[in-house]
């Protein structure tokens, strides 16, 4: 069995959702910079960030990204080729009808945006057609969201804890639910490339 077959992917997926916190910036930058130019799915990211720095983060992520990264507006339609980042100080949900909704509800796990909200609502909308990826992070946010993804039949991936700057987040997910793949960032990149091939 070659490395190309280990993920058993197909072309049924509708979206990729990525959560991360402290120590995830490098990993996320690497993934975004090595995406195939034909990558077929929207990428929805919820990363913990400084609450009162509204600008700069999306620009920093865009520099190396194959696709432009945007912070969507409330009720903005989710499109193929879109790489979306939850804006600072808002929770970002995915709604039935395939669009985003923002909210200023209470912080969850001391976080707004909350990764659990973005992952959980994406799982509700995309069900088993969703790939969830959780990277390095210093709190437990995202674990419950990964559980929702798994419970709906989606594919769950966490960054290899030994590779994480801070492994609390992937470990929390591992303890809460079944994780399909524990991967290094380079292997996540391989998975994205393999996924792309299934849509050709």
């Amino acid at each position: 069995m070659g490395p190309m077959s280990r993920f058993s992917l197909d072309n049924s997926y509708k979206a990729v959702v990525i959560g991360g916190s402290a120590g995830s910036f490098q990993g996320i930058t690497k993934i975004l910079s090595q995406l195939p130019k034909t990558f077929p799915l929207p990428i929805i990211m919820c990363l913990h960030r400084l609450k009162h720095v509204r600008n700069g983060f999306v620009e920093a992520l865009s520099i190396k990204s194959v696709f432009p990264v945007t912070e969507p507006y409330d009720k903005e339609q989710i499109k193929k080729g879109g790489v979306y980042l939850a804006p600072s100080n808002y929770h970002m949900s995915v709604e039935l009808g395939n669009y985003f909704a923002m909210s200023t509800e209470e912080m969850i796990n001391n976080s707004r945006p909350s990764i659990d909200i973005t992952l959980g609502t994406a799982a509700y909308v995309y069900r088993d057609k969703l790939i969830g990826i959780l990277l390095s992070g210093a709190n437990r946010d995202g674990g419950l969201g990964m559980k929702h993804i798994h419970d709906k039949g989606g594919l769950t991936i966490v960054q290899e804890p030994t590779e994480c700057m801070i492994d609390t987040m992937p470990k929390a997910a591992l303890s809460l639910t079944k994780i399909d793949h524990v991967l290094k960032v380079d292997e996540i990149v391989s998975l994205m490339k393999e996924l792309d091939k299934h849509y050709k």
Partner: protein, 274 residues
């Protein structure tokens, strides 16, 4: 514990509230509305059925329910750059044409934005020339707003925002602290009228030079946003301003072409056509 709620059950709840009490949540954005209902169920230790029964049988419960349902998380001087634009561009623009004018805070929640505006106007030396109308559909939160009293622990963030706003003094100069709570100077509310008003079913009640409705319409679906924006358009004088949240947009609404972008970064629009 209830993990999830069916859309059918959410519909039963919104239909009951509408038919019995006249509040219309049928066009609220689904995922946040569902989270609010889940939160109430958990907080009050109810099931969907017992919630429906309580809503149906005890009219006294509705205010408590609305208070939990509506999102009342806000900050003073939220997005300090917005408040700088208000002070340095928008309000001076209004003053070019009017010495006195009206502001509407639509969906004022616990009043943090009203306090912020009152302080801003005071520091501009025009506090007595402006009438502020602060409305919300939640009567409990309006009562809280009127007291101008807040937990002291919230003030760290508010003070930081005020510093970024580059206010003239310190936020501390506007309040007194006692027993873990702060109470703002009542004079700030001299020209403020608080009243109950529901954006969804409420009538147009006045004309304004500036309407602030930031991070309120995000809880509505697009169709409802469109309707509410029509009401705002009608409630504005020609050349009046509308301010919405930094992640909201007028692009897709029917009245979009009757507004001009006054400040894109801070999402302030100017009405140019009736």
């Amino acid at each position: 514990m209830v993990q999830d709620i069916d859309i059918a059950d959410l519909k039963r709840i919104t239909e009951l509230i509408y038919s019995k009490y006249g509040y219309d949540f049928r066009n609220y954005a689904m995922s946040s509305f569902k989270r609010r209902i889940l939160r109430i169920i958990e907080l009050k230790n109810l099931s969907i059925e017992s919630l429906l029964k309580k809503l149906n049988d005890s009219p006294a419960f509705i205010n408590e329910f609305l208070d939990e349902l509506t999102v009342n998380v806000t900050e003073m001087f939220r997005d300090p750059s917005f408040w700088r634009v208000m002070r340095d561009e928008i309000i001076p623009g209004i003053l070019l044409n009017h010495k006195t004018f009206n502001i509407w805070h639509a969906g004022c929640s616990s009043g943090e934005e009203v306090i912020s505006m009152a302080i801003l106007l005071k520091e501009m030396g025009i506090h007595n020339d402006v009438s502020l109308y602060a409305t919300d559909l939640d009567v409990n939160i309006l009562e809280k707003a009127k007291t101008a009293s807040y937990p002291a622990k919230n003030m760290d963030l508010n003070e930081k925002n005020y510093i970024r706003f580059e206010g003239k003094w310190s936020l501390r100069d506007y309040y007194k602290e006692e027993n873990g709570r702060v109470t703002f100077d009542k004079n700030l509310y001299n020209n403020v009228t608080f009243r109950k008003h529901d954006l969804v079913v409420g009538e147009i009640f006045n004309k304004f030079d500036l309407i602030l409705c930031r991070n309120v319409m995000i809880y509505f679906n697009q169709a409802l946003q469109n309707e509410v924006l029509k009401k705002f358009h009608e409630s504005l004088f020609k050349y009046g301003y509308l301010a919405i949240g930094s992640k909201e947009s007028l692009i897709w609404c029917d009245v979009a072409n009757r507004f001009l972008v006054a400040n894109n970064e801070e999402k302030v629009y100017k009405k140019i056509k009736d």
